[in-house]
Amino acid sequence: MANIISDETIEYVGILAKLELSQGEQEQAKADMGRMLDYIDKLGELDTTGVEPMSHVFPVQNVFREDVVTNNDMREQMLLNAPEEKDGMFVVPKTFL
């Protein structure tokens, strides 16, 4: 395997991805990601000098609209989906300790 994923890398990716992996999952993730990257490295065979990255297949520009509210106030229905709500608001854990 050409790509060896270190413990530090997988921990860093875990922080970016906001995922907490168990010891076993972490080992599996290292192996999986290494294999995937070995496979993706195939793209390196192609000379892409001077080729612009294509994020969209059509030449689209930003689509603007007036900043006007068009939807209804659905606070109650939306809060029904909240894991926790109080007084018409989402409850989150304490962020300042």
Binding site: E20, L21, E25, Y39, T48, M54, F58, R65, P83
Partner: protein, 498 residues
């Protein structure tokens, strides 16, 4: 003929003629679901009461002459990643086990306007990540042609529901083949339209630059009718394209005289099952006999489509799935210490293995230091792939090939080796990278009686050429059978021997 055996166009005509009512049609479908879904598990949610209420309302409009189209009163199943107001929408994930949307996806709204009756929500690979419907948090779906086999994925529940007669047609979504491949495995017709043709508003995003909603139907006529109904310009989707040519049913013409069809040599090489190859080439011969000009050519870059796709799709997935944080909706872990721990635990417990694998990969390829080498490199390769297709479409109207290298694998054989599973997407994935339309339709069966799919790919906005070619082929092929359970009863089965 039984309601459960009819196509959408046949059923809506029967309803218009008063042979059957929309309510009776919905009741028959619900009875079929009751009878069969215990075996196939096509649905995550069946909305019995809602369907009957819709059917009653639709019948009134049909009686009043307000609804006259080909989908009026026709029961439909919706993939569970399309938001439906007031109806559970899970993406087949524990993360959204109790999510009830406050709005309906635009494509589904278009179906409702056309009078279609929504029966429920179909099973899928979790967040549409998979090729077998085995990554669902709500159990596997079984292939109606043989329950020991997968229905394909990620729109496996939709394809299987149509094949089992548990709905008249269904909507799916296709990010790398997720409509076309399950359609092929289940012997149905599936279409991924040109990017931007169907609004993505209300489709829970996986790879936004690749996702497109499309129909899964019993035949090409229904495919054109459904696509015509769901296509629309939508301000709520900033990638929506204003098209004037969405009268797709006008392309249901039996004529391929002079149509230039190219078969990429790269699509017939190593890894392709011999029976699939033979059936696809026989279909090409059939089209040639009907007057098409069929040639082989080298498409090039085919082997680079999968690594480019998985880089881009994983990157977009890692970004799109950041919204699932256990605050506004979705799963929240029971015990946690502080905000970040809550995020991490909720996501780790709420997402399944394949979803986490892709989020991790996507986070990595977008991270500082690797962004250029992986993500931008993949976008450059995407530009080259698009160019290769542009060159091909300068010579050909339609590209013809297989949908998948094999017929439906047995349950439990695919997930152990992710890369091997990803390789199964080789013939479908480049279509999404280049934004092209592609249609899948049955062209034979293997020695075990499992359906084989034929894929036709068109240039951007050329769905009509695909529909014309597919319709002509379907006519010359003859009836295929609309599902295994109906074979004995109505004699519609057949297909060309493989």
């Amino acid at each position: 003929m039984e309601v459960t055996d009819m196509t959408a166009v046949e059923l809506s005509a029967a309803i218009r003629d008063g042979q059957v009512t929309a309510v009776e049609a919905a009741e028959e479908m619900l009875a079929r679901i009751e009878e069969r879904d215990g075996i196939y598990n096509c649905y995550v949610t069946v909305d019995r009461e809602g369907a009957l209420a819709q059917a009653r309302a639709v019948q009134e409009k049909i009686d009043a002459g307000e609804l006259t189209g080909p989908l009026a009163g026709v029961p439909v199943a919706i993939k569970d990643n399309l938001c439906t107001e007031g109806l559970l929408t899970t993406c087949a994930s524990r993360m959204l086990e109790n999510f009830v949307p406050t709005y309906t996806a635009e494509a589904v709204m278009n179906l409702r306007r056309a009078g279609a009756v929504i029966l429920g929500k179909t099973n899928m690979d979790e967040f549409a990540m998979g090729s077998t419907t085995e990554t669902s948090a709500y159990g596997v779906t079984r292939n109606p042609w043989n329950p020991a086999h997968v229905p394909g994925g990620s729109s496996g529940g939709s394809a299987a529901a149509v094949a089992a007669g548990e709905c008249c047609f269904a909507l799916g979504s296709d990010t790398g083949g997720s409509i076309r491949q399950p359609a092929a495995y289940c012997g149905m017709v599936g279409m991924k339209p040109t990017y931007g043709t169907v609004s993505r508003y209300g489709l829970i995003a996986y790879g936004s630059s690749l996702d497109q909603i499309g129909p899964l139907t019993k035949d090409v006529t229904d495919c054109a009718a459904v696509l015509e109904a769901i296509s629309s310009y939508d301000k709520k989707d900033s990638t929506s394209v204003k098209r004037q040519d969405t009268d797709f049913t006008s392309a249901l013409v039996e004529d391929v005289q002079g149509l230039r069809i190219g078969i990429p040599n790269d699509y017939l090489g190593e890894g392709l099952d011999a029976e699939v190859r033979a059936a696809v080439l026989q279909a090409a011969e059939e089209l040639a006999r009907s007057g098409a000009v069929v040639e082989r050519f080298d498409l090039s870059l085919v082997e680079y489509a999968i690594p480019a796709y998985y880089t881009i799709a994983a990157a977009e997935a890692s970004s799109n799935l950041e919204r699932f944080d256990g605050i506004k909706y979705g799963y929240r872990t029971k015990e946690y210490t502080g905000l970040h721990n809550m995020y991490k635990k909720s996501r780790s417990e709420g997402f399944g293995e394949e979803v986490k694998r892709r989020i991790m990969l996507g986070s990595f390829v977008l991270s500082s230091g690797y962004y250029d080498a992986y993500y931008l490199k993949a976008l450059r390769v995407k530009a080259l792939i698009k160019k290769a297709f542009d060159e091909a479409f300068a010579k050909y109207d339609v590209i013809l090939g297989p949908v998948a290298p094999t017929t439906a694998p047995r349950l439990g054989e695919s997930l152990a080796d992710p890369i091997k599973m990803y390789l199964g997407d080789i013939y479908t994935i480049a279509v999404n990278l280049a934004g092209l339309p592609g249609i899948s339709l049955p062209c034979g069966k293997d020695r075990n009686g499992l359906p084989i799919g034929l894929q036709l790919i068109g240039d951007c906005f050329q769905e009509k050429k695909l529909i014309r070619a597919a319709y002509t082929y379907e006519k010359s092929r003859g009836p295929f059978g609309i599902g295994p359970g109906t074979e004995k009863q109505d004699g519609r089965t057949g297909g060309i021997p493989s």
